[in-house]
């Protein structure tokens, strides 16, 4: 997505090297004009990415919790969408995507706060800036919503609102700026097409920290807490899968060959990851499960996200297969070993998958492996180093700030519901509703 990736797409299309063209394009390009086809696809992509959260992720997560907590998860996904949307219009878009002047390596400016100056005819590349900012907004929405999986079934709703408002402001907007808005990672040449670090590593790490700070659910891991409705979860997984084409192919910012290739590699990696997880489970437990297969698919979607503009079809198959197997280990062996209660595996799937994907992007982008090549001046080792640095940078910053925010909010209003509410369920305790009245 975003400027750099669009260029990359074009570069790939022309079969030329990255850097010279970028420069060239900037020098000689005529004033951009609106392309209605690109705009049509980006309008659609924004819709698709929002669909991933509403209702995709809400269903995926909402089916996985116990019946007494299902509405709390739906509610959290919707409330996050609303809160982030408002903050995005007030200052988020501006902080992430404008020039921050002297501080630009770290954060953008406030020139477009309140969406000031954005008119019907403002363009970003070949599409209206309004479409661009809505597309980007949908990424800012889904990232915090992904974290919900880590602390599901026990966080106070008031604490959630505070945490999410603060988190997008202090963690998401800056990191988004670092990678796509002209910040230090972008300068470093990180390859992150559609948000492997910005979205998935970021959400995964924040999830891990939250799960550790808020503590385990009462009864975990002794008591079985099976999903109350896997049909909802699998339905949500299907919606994530289809919506993800907006995420990845939409990150081309255009309806072109780069979008098409992102679509193909997304589909291939997802399929292989689903099969990878399935076969691991079959081997380890004697039975392949629906939740496993679909979680594998999500792991594949996560892992191909940073890579989707840089790898070829066969690279995508390989990347997906690896991601399926590694995330299986992340959500099962690793979690059991470490003993944290990442309720719905926000870290196990998004954190681990995001890291795997970001690293493997540095491998399969290699032209020898069917990819489009590395960033200017980097070979595979160099690119891998840059990828690792960006994972580390994201992870450490995110972990530290998330931790501090959680501690402050805990002191302010308390992060966790009381025992009685937890055992009654959040739906009745916090929202005065029950999911089902058959």
């Amino acid at each position: 997505m975003k400027k750099i990736s669009t260029m990359t797409g074009r570069v790939a299309m022309l079969g030329l090297l990255l850097a010279p063209v970028t420069v060239l394009a900037e020098e000689v390009a005529p004033p951009p004009v609106l392309n209605s086809g690109d705009t049509a696809w980006m309008l659609t992509s924004a819709v698709l990415v929002l669909f991933m959260t509403l209702p995709g992720l809400a269903l995926f997560y909402g089916g996985m919790v116990r019946a007494k907590n299902t509405l709390s998860v739906f509610m959290q996904c919707f409330a996050i969408t609303a809160v982030v949307t408002v903050l995005w219009s007030l200052y988020g878009y501006s902080l992430a995507f404008t020039d921050g002047g002297g501080a630009n390596a770290l954060i953008g400016g406030l020139g477009k706060a309140f969406l000031a100056g954005i008119k019907v005819d403002s363009l970003n590349g070949t599409i209206p800036e309004t479409v661009y900012l809505t597309f980007q907004l949908t990424f800012a929405v889904i990232t915090p919503a992904l974290i919900v999986g880590a602390f599901a079934e026990r966080m106070k709703f008031s604490a959630l609102l505070l945490f999410m408002g603060a988190w997008v402001t202090l963690v998401y907007f800056p990191i988004c700026h670092w990678v796509w808005g002209g910040g230090w990672m972008m300068s470093m040449g990180v390859l992150d097409y559609a948000g492997g670090t910005v979205v998935h590593v970021n959400a995964g790490i924040a999830g891990l920290v939250t799960a550790l700070v808020i503590g385990k659910r009462k009864g975990f891991p002794h008591t079985a807490m099976p999903p109350h409705s896997l049909p909802l979860t699998v339905t949500g997984a299907g919606m994530l899968w289809v919506g993800w084409f907006g995420f990845n192919a939409g990150s081309a910012s255009a309806a072109n060959g780069a979008a098409g290739m992102a679509m193909v590699v997304t589909q291939l990696a997802t399929a292989m990851a689903a099969l990878g997880w399935m076969f691991m489970e079959w081997r380890e437990h004697g039975k392949p499960s629906a939740l496993g297969l679909t979680t594998g698919a999500v792991a594949g979607l996560v892992a191909i996200t940073p890579a989707s503009g840089f790898v070829g079809p066969m690279g995508a198959l390989a990347l997906g297969g690896i991601a399926g197997v590694v995330c299986f280990l992340g959500a099962t062996t690793l979690k059991r070993k470490m003993g944290y209660d990442d309720s719905l595996d926000a870290f196990g799937v998004h954190g681990v998958g995001g890291i795997v994907g970001a690293l493997l992007t540095g491998v399969f982008a290699s032209p020898d492996l069917g990819g489009v090549g590395f960033s200017k001046g980097l070979d595979m080792a160099g690119q891998l180093m840059v990828q690792a640095e960006s994972i580390l940078g994201t992870g450490v910053y995110c972990a530290v700030v998330s931790f501090i925010l959680l501690k402050i909010i805990d002191a302010m209003v308390g992060l966790r519901v009381d025992e009685e509410s937890e055992s009654t369920g959040l739906d009745i305790a916090l929202h005065g509703e029950r999911g089902y009245n058959y």
Binding site: A224, M225, P226, E281, H285, F328, T332
Partner: protein, 112 residues
């Protein structure tokens, strides 16, 4: 009058109902229950973790019958519900002091 409670396998429900109808039983009440017994449960998977589910779905059939019919009813259920495999369930007979039909207020044997 006696209260017969039978715990049976769910897929035997239809056969039991037919067997009871065949011997003239005109009323009964069914409940979905979960049974724990000799029949072992099964393992379920959740994100690669296995856990044991001990309770199995069963149907509880309850019906009030005349004392004179008890034996026949128990026999009918026994035959219809039997597969010979563990978990077929049990039948319990309990005393009833008194019965009333709500619609008419009738009591005693006429209630059935």
């Amino acid at each position: 009058m006696k209260w017969v409670t039978a715990i049976i396998k769910p897929f035997k429900q239809e056969e039991v109902r037919e067997a009871l109808s065949a011997i003239g039983v005109t009323g009964m009440t069914l409940t979905e229950v979960r049974g724990f017994g000799r029949q072992k449960g099964h393992t379920e998977l959740y994100r690669g973790a296995e856990y044991q589910v001990d309770f199995l779905p069963k149907i509880k059939v309850e019906l009030a019958v005349q004392e004179s019919q008890v034996e026949q009813v128990v026999e009918a259920i026994r035959e219809a519900a039997r597969t010979g495999k563990i978990g077929d369930g049990k039948i319990f007979v309990m005393p009833i002091d008194h019965a009333v039909r709500i619609r008419t207020g009738e009591t005693g044997p006429n209630v059935l």
